[in-house]
């Protein structure tokens, strides 16, 4: 209709509405379509802990942010260009984030007195002009529109109104020139057998698209070209799904049976759900009576020769602490996954945080070291989970894998790996006595210090393990002082030996300079984006992202001293920072924001510029 196309590099959009408005689903559909179109993308779902807070309340606002780009991007964006606000509460909560001059699309049918009061508005922002100086306001009567579109369908009014999120989706598809067919076929699959629901949603989406096309609401449409990503076959993936796939790949490559002992907890439960559906892969999942049974059943399975996993979030790790000591003492392979969330206590169950690092490193009684690895992106959860399994089995030790709510629920396009190309993963169970006709369950491998893995059912290797200190080699109960010291040292040494098995540190940028941004875990994307921006602006800034936090890579100390400043952005009060300062005696500084959401790249750029003066 004579509208101009403007090609842009990237856009950030945010859908916000009531918990019942289907914002996560709408965001998910826009994400899938955007992935198919070939943009790089990154998402940030943001939903309340309550399943259904009172309709129209500020607490009940659910949002989904998505950044998509023709370039390689690393974050879901800081500030949205476009906000879709399905009700006044959504506007109230999210309007302050929209970039100056950005677009706000409102469902004005929801801007009625009751909802306005609920959100704390004295007058209607859709009508009073209060936002007009700052944003492009696009008011749409979405309820009315979907009612008209579905007029002749034999569907009750409530169900018709539920399609308004698809109307909004249609508007955005028009605005950013996305095809509708993928969503149409998705609707057919999702609601198979419910033809009227399929029809209503399809009509609502098309109505939104056509409405945007025929009205004069938009003067410009936007084109975001395909991103030039490395060649390969891509799919969209979120962190929890990638973690599940990584575990399964490890089981297949090692030939071990996968066992998961787990207790439901946000935001980790999806891993339990996903693995439970994979029975035809021989996966055994056990929903335990509590967190402790989750980990102890996994320890029992590990003793019996399974690739044993337990999944949880921070509070669950607290409950599992004693059992992790048992896994360390019995030197059994176990992968413990902490999908971190806001803490302490119940904290912010649906929000992200990096505040369980100290817990992962130190949260057990006694000298109880275990390797700790952290995933950096949703897709990286696959590789981190695989590597955690490989190290656990090779070194006969529990391994903690840290992901977080942002990685778990966020998604990105992912270059699908070839399972055959993953690092080999061999397992050898002990079959014969290893000490002059005797079997010593704690006779260590010279290289790794791992003990043999002898599983029940193996004749002649009957032995006992337990949480009491064991004698070197024989594994008998021992209270001998010298032996205890030696075993404490050996368990630490064994973890240190993992250093020989992990990748060298990569420096993004020059090997020396004015400032190094040092990150771990889910802040990878924001740090990388910030450093790219800084480098483009001619700053001598580099980025190092640490994957293994215990043990730290051998070469890290050498790298750190090449920089005049070190900045460690973290979503905690400086847990990694203190480790780095104590380990390497460098004067690193922290950037610490603990708001339950990712640190924005712009915030990091600002902090670096401030440091550099």
């Amino acid at each position: 209709m004579g509208k101009n196309f403007k090609t842009i590099d990237e856009a950030v959009i945010r859908f916000a509405g009531d918990s019942g408005d289907g914002m996560q689903l709408t965001g998910g559909r826009f994400t899938e379509t955007t992935a198919i179109v070939g943009n790089d993308l990154s998402t940030l779902p943001d939903f309340p802990a309550e399943i259904r807070a009172p309709a129209g309340s500020l607490a009940g606002v659910s949002a989904f942010q998505l950044k998509f780009s023709s370039k390689d991007i690393h974050t879901p964006g800081d500030k949205p260009d476009v906000l879709v606000a399905m009700n006044p509460a959504a506007l109230k909560v999210h309007q302050k984030d929209v970039i100056p001059g950005g677009t706000i699309i409102m469902n004005t049918d929801a801007f009625v007195k009751k909802n306005l009061n609920f959100a704390g508005y004295d007058s209607n922002p859709a009508e009073d002009g209060s936002l007009d100086d700052y944003f492009t306001i696009i008011p749409i009567e979405m309820n009315k529109m979907v009612k008209a579109a579905c007029e002749d369908l034999d569907l009750n009014g409530k169900l018709v109104l539920r399609t308004k999120n698809f109307f909004a989706l249609g508007v955005l598809f028009y605005m950013y020139d996305r095809p509708l067919d993928a969503t149409e076929s998705w609707l057919k699959k999702k609601f198979a057998g419910k033809d009227d629901i399929i029809e209503a949603n399809t009509r609502a989406m098309n109505a939104g698209y056509n409405y945007a096309d025929t009205t004069e609401l938009f003067t410009t449409r936007f084109k975001v070209e395909k991103a030039s990503l490395p060649p390969g076959t891509y799919r969209n993936i979120n962190g929890n799904y990638a973690t599940s796939l990584g575990l399964l790949a490890a089981a297949e490559k090692s030939g071990l049976e996968l066992f998961l002992g787990s207790y439901p907890i946000t935001p980790a439960s999806d891993i339990l759900h996903t693995l439970s559906a994979w029975k035809h892969f021989g996966v055994k999942t056990f929903q335990a009576e509590d967190e402790i049974a989750g980990v102890t059943s996994a320890i029992g399975a590990a003793y019996t020769g399974s690739l044993a996993i337990t999944t949880t979030s921070g509070p669950g790790i607290a409950l599992k602490g004693e059992a992790l000591g048992l896994a360390i003492m019995t030197e059994l392979p176990l992968v413990v996954i902490n999908v971190q969330r806001g803490g302490p206590s119940t904290g912010l169950p649906t929000k992200t945080e990096q505040s369980d690092l100290n817990q992962a490193l130190y949260g057990r009684n006694g000298e109880a070291p275990m390797p700790v690895i952290a995933a950096s992106t949703p897709g990286d959860c696959f590789f981190a989970a695989y590597e955690a399994c490989r190290i656990a089995v090779k070194h006969m030790t529990p391994v903690m894998l840290l992901t977080d709510g942002y990685l778990a629920n966020g998604s990105e396009p992912w270059n699908i790996p070839n399972v055959e190309e993953l690092e080999t993963f061999e397992v050898k169970f002990a079959e014969k006595p290893n000490a002059d006709g005797d079997f010593f369950p704690y006779l260590r491998d010279e290289k790794t210090l791992a003990r043999p893995w002898a599983i029940p059912g193996t004749p002649g290797l009957e032995h006992r393990v337990g949480g009491i200190e064991t004698a070197e080699n024989t594994g008998h109960v021992s209270y001998d002082p010298e032996n205890h010291h030696n075993m404490v040292v050996a368990r630490q040494e064994k973890v240190n030996k993992v250093q020989n098995d992990i990748a060298q540190t990569e420096v993004f940028g020059e090997g020396s300079g004015d400032l190094l941004v040092l990150s771990w875990g889910g802040t990878y994307g924001a740090c990388r984006s910030a450093v790219e921006t800084l480098q483009e602006n001619g700053k001598k800034v580099s980025h190092v992202h640490v994957r293994w936090i215990s043990p730290l890579p051998k070469d890290l100390g050498e790298i750190l001293i090449q920089f005049k400043n070190i900045l460690v952005p973290e979503i905690n009060l400086g847990q990694f920072l203190r480790l780095i300062r104590s380990e390497y005696l460098v004067d690193a500084k922290g950037l610490n924001l603990v708001r339950g959401r990712p640190i924005g790249a712009a915030t990091i750029v600002e902090a670096v510029n401030k440091t550099l003066g």
Binding site: E32, A35, G38, A182, K226, P230, P231, G232, T233, Y234, R235, L245, L248, A249, E252, E257, F259, G261, W278, K279, H280, F281, G282, K284, A288, E289, D290, I292, A293, T296, S297, A298, I299, G300, A301, A302, Y303, T304, G305, A323, G325, N415, I416, P417, N418, V419, I455, P456, G457, P459, L461, E462, H463, R464, V465, G466, G467, I468, H476, V477
Partner: protein, 335 residues
């Protein structure tokens, strides 16, 4: 209950090289000896037997059995054993626990392992005291018990293990006594041959911290206030001079000189209501203490159902390949 042993093992084969460190005179010795004696009779290879325990005096048990063994942490043995059994359902898995370990700190795991009918044999050594921590009252200690932690007497109401097990949907519930060697052996045999979760409460004496724990029932002579339950048999005790009869749901003791046998309650192991009535006779001064198999029925086991579900899924969908899952869904090519 799969493979049988070709060469006959003896008790000696099940004695480990570790010296036993219970207090002299402890009831645990008798239970250990009986277990070592009983194992060869099952005809199982000893590498297919796993003993799992928690923490407490009884939980040292696995160290003394020359089988696979796991001395885990306080209260968690049923959960560790659950992982063992799921990982390899062919193993014969035994849980050794005590009244503190199994019913207090580990009460949750105890209850859920039984509810799932996980094929574990749970031996609960009940001595009504915390022995390893040197004498505090336990969840089965009687009201008024004076211990270091209760100098004015315990005000806790003790729980009744068989009632708890029945409430948790256990499919095999029995009680025996450390000194009743033959009976103990018989109960272990019944537990082993029960396909599903088996629970045996063993009245056990702690001669250091709670000597005479169950003295009123466990004298070397079978006492008149104990009834040995036998499936299909009338409930007679005190050398058959007394019998039990139901009045509604309430049992009353009758003199057999004045009553005929056909008035007497007949034990039926498969009757849950009856099992609940019997288990409630525990510690009732007006009724004999019930010993023997209180309840035993067959129900599908968790471990077998999991095997079946996996087989069914594989039959239906074919064994999965990770690469297919990776490539599934909406994908696109970048060249």
């Amino acid at each position: 209950m799969s493979e049988t042993q070709t060469t006959q093992l003896t008790k000696k084969d099940f004695v480990s090289d570790q010296s036993v460190r219970w207090c002299p005179g402890c009831g645990d010795y008798a239970i250990l000896a009986q277990a070592q004696k009983q194992m060869p009779t099952f005809g199982r290879k000893k590498e297919d037997i796993v003993f799992v325990s928690g923490i407490g005096c009884s939980s040292r048990f696995p160290y003394y059995m020359d089988t696979y063994g796991f001395h885990s942490i306080h209260g968690r043995a049923p959960a560790v054993a659950t992982g063992v059994k799921i990982a390899n359902p062919e193993l014969s898995v035994w849980v050794v626990t005590g009244d503190g370990d199994g019913l207090s700190i580990g009460g949750n795991h105890f209850m859920h392992a039984l509810r799932r009918n996980m094929d574990l044999n749970v031996l609960l050594f009940n001595n009504r005291i915390y022995g390893l921590t040197k004498g505090q009252y336990s969840p089965t200690s009687e009201v008024g018990k004076v211990t270091k932690a209760t100098p004015y007497g315990s005000i806790d109401i003790p729980l009744n293990p068989p009632s708890l097990a029945l409430g948790a949907q256990a499919t095999f519930v029995a009680r025996t006594i450390d000194r009743w060697q033959k009976h103990l052996a018989e109960m272990m045999d019944r537990a082993y041959n029960h396909d599903g979760g088996s629970f045996i409460e063993i009245y056990q004496n702690c001669n250091i911290f709670n000597d005479g724990a169950f003295e009123e029932y466990t004298g070397s002579q079978k006492l008149d206030n104990v009834i040995e339950l036998k499936n299909g048999q009338p409930m007679l005790f005190a050398k058959e001079t007394k019998g039990l009869k139901l009045e509604g749901a309430k049992a009353v003791v009758v003199d057999m000189e004045k009553h005929s046998l056909d008035e007497i309650l007949v034990h039926d192991e498969t009757n849950l209501e009856l099992a609940q009535i019997i288990s409630n006779w525990t510690s009732n001064p007006d009724l004999p203490e019930p010993i023997g198999v209180i309840y035993s029925i067959d129900k599908p086991t968790y471990n077998q159902d999991m095997v079946d579900q996996i087989k069914h899924a594989k039959d239906k969908k074919g064994s999965g390949k990770v690469q297919d899952l990776l490539n599934a869904g909406d994908t696109w090519k970048v060249s």
